[in-house]
């Protein structure tokens, strides 16, 4: 087996997905026995070679013209392009400014906007073809390992195709919707588990917090049913949709799913 040449790229984001790869700890060395990392700015000194890649992993979302140019270059230089995390997959949290009053958002962050150049936040697949998306904010390392080994063995990565509720209900978690008691001060009374793709092991519900949809929609999201139920609990449609797009306002596909629902 020849070692595939891999590049790991970061656009705009928190670097958490790359850090999650470093969090493989000593297994990073075993990973390096399987792949040839020829470009990874976070962990390597120059010179690095971002050309002729078998696999390019991209983290972070597109927020300016330079990044549009950069991803196009990555696409030209890589056989497979895989996004890691919700920023690269669907815009990430910073994408929320797409669906807010953009001028107000910018003004709240900077007093003088003259030096700030930005474009609406985009997931990478808005600009180039993406072969696979590793979901989550952040991704989890088991997912990453499973996908990398799948690719090495010429196997398509596994897709869950069911909601977070599937994994959540296998554990002894309390359902956030089940309870009619008052919502505690620290959390929302909406759980996005029913419309969010599984694969995280129901991480947030297992830690006492409702799912906030970081892995994106399932292939069969029952959005209107969720909105109906949440409205019964006193939420406005607008707020529910804002919550549902927390990690995905930079994706036109997600936008379409919500429009279809209306």
């Amino acid at each position: 087996m020849t070692k595939p040449k891999v590049g790991i790229f970061g656009l705009t984001g928190c670097a958490g997905c790359q850090l999650e790869i470093l969090n493989l700890e000593e297994q990073v060395l075993n990973l390096l026995a399987l792949i040839d990392v020829s470009y990874w700015r976070m962990a390597q000194e120059l010179p690095a070679d971002p050309t002729n890649l078998d696999i390019a992993f991209i983290e972070g979302s597109i927020t300016n013209e330079e990044e549009i140019h950069e991803v196009k270059e990555i696409r030209e230089n890589a056989n497979l392009v895989i996004t890691i995390g919700s920023c690269a997959g669907s815009g990430g949290v910073q994408g929320m400014r797409n669906i807010m009053d953009n001028d107000k958002v910018k003004a709240a962050a900077y007093k003088d906007l003259s030096g700030v150049r930005s474009v609406p936040v985009k997931g990478v697949d808005e600009v180039i073809k993406v072969d696979y998306k590793i979901r989550g904010c952040p991704i989890n390392r088991d997912d990453f390992v499973s996908i990398v080994t799948s690719l090495l063995l010429g196997r398509q990565p596994h897709v869950w195709n069911s909601p977070v509720c599937n994994e959540c209900s296998m554990q002894n978690n309390d359902c956030f919707f089940e309870r009619t008691t008052e919502t505690p001060i620290y959390r929302s009374n909406i759980c996005l588990g029913p419309i969010t793709e599984a694969g995280c092991g129901a991480r947030c519900p297992s830690n006492g917090m409702p799912c906030d949809g970081c892995r994106g929609l399932t292939s069969d999201p029952h959005i209107s049913q969720l909105v109906t139920e949440a409205r019964k609990r006193g939420e406005t449609t607008e707020k529910i949709l804002m919550l549902a797009k927390r990690y995905s306002a930079g994706s036109s596909a997600v936008k379409k799913s919500f429009e279809e629902m209306r």
Binding site: C14, N23, A43, A109, D112, G208
Partner: protein, 433 residues
């Protein structure tokens, strides 16, 4: 012989996020030094506006993965102050434990993978693995332990889940805590050895400067988490809530970027400033580590931030042992989340691994965020990075270009800068060379 050099360290590798240091040297004189951030703006203060109190910490921790615990902890604390929540002592202790975990994880990552390779003439941690496998093994041990602590206490290594407004949404089991407790002494021993190694390396770079530093301060302990006071080396303590009056932000003519200054001067935040200002409260184990380091305080040498991080790693490990012992013995009390929330303004200051981190929020009648201000350590340090060039370049300007590049790289890396976190608050003006 005079030579004009324009050194452009684009993509200073081995820092989290992407930054650029442009240094113009003309006739062996520094003409201009600019530290720039290449990442796109994310407008976090804008994004959280209008969001409910409980949504803000989840979103704001995404500013930076490596400091996500600090952002989560400082934002929940600031919001609690704003809306009238006073969590239990247990919650404060658990948050401290989280911060210690993050500090251990972050310091170990930075020291072994990002800083030490320079001191040992290596280009990367991977390179280091071939000649110093024992150092790499230590690095993985400490980093994994720090991460496991964050997983077990916070629910996840990156972007913790369990730390919420008013307390914790879930607690670790005694078995989990005992497992962590039993692994910490080895980290202390190994870090002590590394301190001795670093202290014994000859010909280390130094920088001649006496610029000020700032950290949070608590008279009773070496503070990492939320105090009322900030303290500076030259001018003493002031209330954390008044940070905007003391740590002024100003515009400099040569740059669009905002700079934090203390009385118009640059200052440093991070491990070295904390050590300088709070060393009296180190644990006994921490003091032992300090002895091995051979540092003499006050220490203004930015390069020594690396050593200070190692001392703090030991100190945090000891503080963690103390807290874990307590929780193993006493268990956890169920949290009380019953509060009458009200609108208001609140500030919290904490120490992220790479320095002072301040969040301030205002919430309206609807408990939606109407104002927020986040100042990250890398933003505080930005001006200091540039003034350090003014201090360092004259001493090294006659050296070959490669050596100057390496030294400037080491200088920037010593700050352990995290550019992801500064990207949201700094203006970006990218000149691609």
């Amino acid at each position: 012989m005079s030579e004009d050099k324009r050194i452009n360290l684009e993509y200073i590798a081995r820092v989290e996020g992407y930054g650029q240091l442009v240094v113009d040297i003309e006739n062996q004189q520094l003409k201009e030094a600019q530290f720039r951030v290449l990442e796109g703006a994310r407008f976090f203060e804008g994004i959280v506006s209008g969001k409910k109190h409980h949504e803000v910490p989840i979103i704001i921790s995404r500013i930076c993965a490596i400091c996500s615990v600090s952002h989560s902890v400082v934002s929940t604390r600031a919001i609690e102050r704003a809306i009238g929540v006073e969590p239990s002592e247990q919650t404060h202790a658990l948050r401290k434990l989280l911060i210690y975990s993050e500090t251990i994880q972050s310091h170990v990552l930075h020291e072994y993978f990002l800083a030490l390779p320079d001191y040992l003439g290596k280009t990367s941690a991977i390179d280091l693995a071939s000649t110093h496998p024992e150092l790499v093994a230590k690095a993985f041990y400490g980093k994994k332990l720090g991460n496991d602590m964050q997983r077990i206490i916070g629910g996840r290594a990156i972007h913790p889940i369990r730390n919420v407004i008013g307390g914790f949404s879930k607690f670790a089991t005694t078995e989990e805590l005992t497992n962590l407790r039993d692994r910490l002494p080895q980290l202390i021993d190994e870090t002590m050895e590394t301190i001795k190694i670093l202290a014994s390396l000859p010909d280390q770079p130094t920088i001649g400067s006496r610029r000020d530093f700032v950290a949070i301060h608590d008279p009773s302990e070496y503070a990492y988490y939320d105090t009322d006071q900030l303290i500076s080396g030259h001018s003493g303590p002031f209330p954390a809530a008044d940070y905007q009056e003391h740590l002024l932000e100003e515009i400099r003519p040569y740059s669009h970027t905002k700079f934090s200054t203390l009385k118009g001067e640059s200052f440093m935040v991070g491990a070295l400033p904390r050590l300088n200002l709070n060393h009296a409260n180190l644990t006994e184990t921490g003091k032992e580590a300090f002895e091995y380091s051979r540092l003499i305080l006050p220490d203004y040498d930015t390069f020594h931030n690396n050593m200070a991080q190692l001392i703090e790693t030991v100190d945090c490990a000891q503080l963690s042992i103390n807290l874990l012992d307590r929780f193993i013995a006493d268990g956890f009390e169920k949290e009380n989340f019953e509060y009458d929330l009200h609108p208001g303004n609140g500030t919290a200051a904490t120490e992220a691994p790479r320095g002072l981190l301040i969040h301030q929020y205002t919430f309206d009648e609807d408990l939606r965020c109407s104002y927020s201000d986040v100042i990250t350590p890398t933003a505080f340090n930005q001006l200091k990075m540039e003034t350090d060039c003014e201090d360092l370049v004259p001493r090294i300007a006659t050296k070959p270009k490669e050596e100057i590049e390496l030294l400037l790289n080491m200088l920037v890396r010593a700050y352990d800068p995290c550019i992801s976190c500064s990207a949201h608050s700094m203006k970006v003006d990218v000149k691609f060379v």
